[in-house]
């Protein structure tokens, strides 16, 4: 049984300038050849690899319906490590759909999400870190995010981790030598533990940049919530500088959760607008309120908007208190600040929101920049977004485990535990790092990584 040939449209759906159909596998050239005619009449298999050729796309009856550029690559020197054909079709998706349909008819199977990159990884063409970075580059929403993804695609994170591994291995070797050769090795040099300490510090510094790194690669979800008619949708539009949400003077206007992607200070932000929080008997609004609550509980930042003229009710305080207690980032916004003085004193807002509050107006634009700055500061924390940071929850998880094991090694030693325990902690740290670089990955990790890929990549 040989590997199947897979195919998919690699460009996003819609009416773009061109769209690309990708075919990979042992029969890629054969399958693609069914629908493509070279000018010379020669079969597609005769095309020299890595040269671009113009071909007609023909339908089942052999009638030419369009022209396309064809690139034939031969495994193992291709992205997937297999024979790979890319067909660039003009215009919208109709032509590419037809090309895909005929390739599938010729025996190829529609690719699963991430399957091309997965094959590239399995065929040893790219490392796990690179595979993750491919995903990021593809989805990179901002320039900073793209440069981060680029760093990881070039393997910078892996290179740094490997340096840590080398240093930890030498510390480990020193400890183990003293146990294995008690007659020859005098005492474990404090040098070994010094190395552990300094690697621990360096990992901590990188982890410090995890919120920023994750923000760059996944975007910051910020959710506008608050009582009805507080001006959430108006702020939503103002922050996006677009007329996106319906605004009326009727309380309970917004029902569905609206999502828009934007960029604040170089960081990608996904802004959410939600229904006003209140007890209601309206069936549709009840669902809206439930959705608002869920959106708030799943987002990274909660922007709680209230009407300055109305002040904060006990319900407002309950909501805010609950989220703060859960350790959520809550920004309190006193809206409609243009319409008159705020009923709530600054010191009171300070107390309710733990210091994070802004006076703002959707009408004058006052306070909007401050909202953006407050939100992004939580992630930036004064750091330079161009420096390397971890870019996926998986990487952060591995780093965190490595860091906590190293911290434990250090504390166990000072608590007076025997060396064998210190060694065990070091080994656990090394295992976590090996997982990060993909030297030691479990099946689950692979699944996770590749499930995030869109079809065609």
């Amino acid at each position: 049984m040989k590997e199947e040939t897979i195919a998919a449209i690699a460009t996003p759906p819609g009416t773009g300038g061109i769209s690309i159909v990708r075919v990979s596998g042992p029969d890629a050239v054969l399958a693609a050849g069914k629908t493509l005619r070279l000018r010379s009449g020669a079969p597609l298999s005769s095309v020299r690899p890595w040269t671009v050729r113009l071909a007609s796309v023909v339908d089942r009856e052999g009638v030419a319906i369009d022209e396309a550029l064809v690139l034939v690559m031969r495994g193992p020197r291709s992205y997937t490590g297999e024979d790979l054909v890319e067909v660039q079709c003009h215009g919208g998706s109709l032509v590419s759909q037809k090309v895909l349909a005929s390739v599938l008819e010729a025996g190829a199977r529609h690719a699963e999400p991430g399957e091309f990159t997965r094959r590239a990884f399995l065929n040893g063409r790219i490392t796990l870190e690179e595979a993750e970075a491919v995903l990021e580059v593809v989805n990179a929403p901002t320039e900073y995010a793209l440069s981060q993804a680029g760093r990881r695609l070039r393997g910078e994170l892996g290179a740094r981790v490997r340096k840590w591994e080398t240093r930890l291995y030498s510390a480990l070797a020193a400890l183990q030598a003293s146990a294995d050769f008690p007659e020859d090795v005098d005492e474990v040099s404090s040098h070994a533990m010094g190395e552990v300490l300094s690697v621990h510090k360096e990992i901590a510094a990188l982890l410090d940049r995890a919120p920023l790194g994750l923000a760059l690669s996944c975007g910051i979800e910020a959710c506008l919530v608050g009582p009805p008619n507080a001006g959430k949708s108006s702020l939503f539009n103002a922050l996006l500088a677009a007329d996106r949400a319906i605004v009326t003077e009727v309380p309970g206007t917004t029902r569905d959760v609206l999502r828009e992607t934007t960029e604040w200070d170089g960081l990608p932000v996904i802004l959410l607008d939600t229904a006003g929080l209140r007890q209601t008997s309206d069936v549709v609004e009840i669902i809206g309120v439930e959705r608002a609550e869920r959106a708030a509980s799943e987002s990274e930042v909660i922007i709680y908007v209230f009407d300055s003229a109305l002040g904060l009710g006990s319900e407002d305080r309950d909501w805010i208190g609950k989220w703060l207690k859960q350790g959520r980032r809550v920004l309190l916004v006193a809206g409609k600040s243009d319409a008159g003085a705020c009923k709530v004193s600054e010191s009171e807002m300070n107390e309710v929101a733990g210091g994070a509050f802004v006076l703002a107006s959707a009408v004058t634009g006052a306070g909007l920049e401050e909202i953006k700055k407050r939100v992004t500061d939580w992630f930036r924390r004064g750091q330079d977004p161009r420096l390397l940071s971890p870019g996926s929850a998986r990487q952060v998880d591995c780093l965190r485990r490595a860091s906590s094991s190293l911290g434990e090694a250090l504390s166990r030693r000072s608590e007076g535990w025997t060396e064998d325990v210190v060694v065990l902690c070091l080994e656990e740290a090394l295992k976590a790092l090996a997982e990060l670089t993909g030297k030691d990955v479990s099946e689950e990790t692979l699944e996770q990584v590749f499930a995030r890929f869109c079809v065609g990549k």
């Binding site: 040989k2 294995d180 008690p182």
Partner: protein, 609 residues
């Protein structure tokens, strides 16, 4: 070439530590066993230092004991000094080391063999008879044939061996015995590829030529100890071990004669053990060290030979004399036998299965230095496993294969069969991932039930095991007692609280033997770490029990390395764990897993694409 018509169930070739355990196991499991060796006068000899145990090795000895092997009993029957190494470094690495009387040790083994009814036969095995891929017996240099469906090769360092002292090279075995000729050729003909390793030993000095008063006496532990779970612990202190250091003069002599060292001038081709370096190696590699510790150990009560631990060398005799004379207390020392290096053939160990049977030939097993290991303990462990498997497979039973999380022996054999060993392999605690689970003192708890199932554990050992288990349970129960509302067990989970501290409030403690108290205290103190290792081992086990479908054809799996493909084809492992065991690398296993997932997703359709 007429056969004598003799026939046994198991033939063991050699009479060193691997051979002795293999023969005893086979015979105790009810099989007729014949040991064929170059010199029946040399049974379980110690051509290197007269000592057994140490980090990693002591754990192996206890595991052999737990399974019903002989080594620990032989040690306890011949111990001169006994001490604990790494006492302060933690239970995972703590290990006993015994200096033994090598003649008494050999006597013990000879008697054990004769009690077990093992037949001894002197002769040089020059060929194997093999038919249809299965071994049928051996051929001796005089043309005699002995038949057996199982042959265990424990040839030690004798295969085509050469002894090297300075520029003198002799084809000979360690003790002036002949080197084993012919068998290497026979193995090669059978498709087994051979490597060449090197090891060495130190000069032996006459006891009465040493000024002992200038050396430091090393006394054994004053706490009663024993290797075997069957022996009564006792204090062993016999005025048999002294220590001193090399000095700058010693190092100068070595450096000045570097060009005469076979290690460096190209005379020695074999790869030597990094972990057991010769003194010239140490002096050149660690040039910054001004001195190296050495130990002087009496070899036997009945002999006036003294072994110098740490002074292994193959320098010319005149250099050895100068070197020895430069040491404290040795200005008049007489060398009885010079140190030497020995080169020998061994098989590339990835040609054996985890059962220690060779891949190429059914019924042919290899154990000990022939598989590329060094050390008496490592050899004995393999001998035991090979002996057990040679015997039980004759009854159609599945071979015993220990996993890495079950025993150091599991680690040892797994390392051998999955790697191409490129230097003599010595066990170290650092080779073992689950070392906090595989402590020396719980070897019986880990392995004696298996030994009982196999059939090697005597009624007496089984009774002792069960009594100890009862005591351990009693001790564990005692730790459940609450003191100030907190169980003693939990109070012990910090380094500076000890079980003895609770003696006043735990009267039951007084009735427990010391070793039981120590064991349950340790279990409680390290419970957090022990659990972590257990979880990790379990995770591994789940993963490794995953079945590889029989319909999977390795050639179809894209991205697999050629090596992995070959191994999958050759061994057809039934599970992922087996695949790892036969040496398929983790990244190849990952590729295999991903492929299996696809295969599963495509269900029984097969044949598509």
């Amino acid at each position: 070439m007429t056969g004598s018509g003799e026939r046994f169930d198991i033939l063991v070739v050699g009479s060193g530590h691997a051979a002795v355990e293999a023969a005893l196991a086979g015979s105790r499991l009810g099989r007729s066993v014949c040991v064929v060796t170059l010199d029946t006068g040399n049974i379980a000899g110690m051509p290197c230092n007269p000592a057994i145990g140490g980090p990693g090795k002591a754990q192996i000895v206890s595991e052999i004991d737990a399974l019903g092997g002989e080594m620990a009993l032989a040690v306890d029957g011949s111990t001169v000094e006994l001490r604990v190494l790494n006492a302060s470094k933690g239970p995972a690495v703590q290990s006993l080391r015994a200096q033994v009387d090598k003649r008494a040790y050999a006597r013990h083994m000879r008697e054990a063999l004769s009690r077990a009814g093992v037949v001894l036969r002197q002769g040089m095995v020059t060929d194997l008879s093999v038919s249809e891929g299965a071994v049928q017996g051996i051929v001796l240099s005089n043309g005699d044939r002995v038949r057996a469906p199982r042959v265990v090769l424990c040839t030690g360092v004798y295969l085509e061996s050469r002894i090297i002292v300075g520029d003198v090279v002799e084809d000979s075995g360690p003790l002036g015995e002949p080197s084993a000729k012919g068998l290497s050729e026979s193995l090669k003909r059978l498709g087994i590829s051979l490597g060449r390793f090197k090891t060495g030993t130190s000069p032996r000095i006459a006891r009465d030529s040493i000024h002992w008063e200038e050396l430091r006496r090393e006394t054994g532990s004053d706490i009663p100890l024993a290797f075997s779970f069957l022996s009564r612990p006792r204090v062993w202190q016999n005025d048999a071990c002294y220590s001193t250091y090399t000095n700058e003069e010693t190092h100068r002599i070595i450096s000045a004669n570097r060009h005469r060292a076979p290690m460096f001038n190209g005379t020695i081709e074999g790869t030597g053990p990094r972990y057991c370096p010769s003194i010239e190696d140490k002096v050149f590699r660690f040039a910054e060290r001004k001195r190296h510790q050495i130990f002087l150990e009496m070899e036997s009560r009945d002999s006036h030979e003294v072994y110098i631990l740490g002074l292994s060398t193959s320098l010319p005799v005149d250099v050895q004399v100068a070197m020895v004379h430069s040491l404290p207390g040795m200005k008049d020392a007489r060398i009885i036998k010079p140190g030497y290096a020995i080169e020998y053939d061994c098989i590339a160990s990835n040609q054996i299965k985890p059962s220690l049977e060779t891949v190429a030939i059914k019924g042919l097993y290899c154990a000990g230095q022939i598989n590329g290991t060094s050390g008496y303990e490592e050899a004995a462990a393999q001998g035991l496993i090979a002996g057990i498997n040679a015997a039980i497979t004759l009854e159609g039973r599945d071979p015993v294969v220990l996993e890495r999380h079950e025993a150091y022996i599991g680690v040892l054999i797994d390392d051998l069969v999955t790697n191409v060993i490129d230097e003599p392999y010595r066990m170290l605690t650092s080779r073992c991932e689950y070392r906090l689970l595989l402590r020396q003192h719980n070897a019986d708890q880990r392995l004696t039930p298996l030994g009982r199932r196999v059939g090697l554990v005597s009624d007496r050992r089984w009774r002792v095991f069960q009594e100890k288990k009862t005591m351990l349970d009693r001790g564990r129960e005692l730790l459940g007692t609450k003191v100030d509302g907190i169980e003693v067990r939990d109070r012990l989970r910090t380094p500076d609280v000890h079980l003895e501290d609770f003696a006043p409030v735990l009267p039951g403690l007084a009735g427990l033997p010391e070793d039981i108290k120590a064991e349950v205290e340790l279990e409680a103190k390290y419970s957090g770490f022990i659990k972590r290792q257990e979880r990790e081992a379990q995770r591994l086990r789940r993963y490794s029990s995953k079945r590889i479908p029989a319909r999977l054809s390795p050639a179809d799996v894209p991205g697999l390395s050629r090596e992995a493909r070959d191994k999958l084809e050759k061994y057809a492992p039934s599970t992922i764990g087996r695949a790892l065991e036969v040496g398929v690398s983790p990244s190849d296993v990952l590729i295999l897993l991903a492929y299996m997932k696809d295969l599963g997703a495509r269900g029984g359709q097969g044949g598509d694409g």
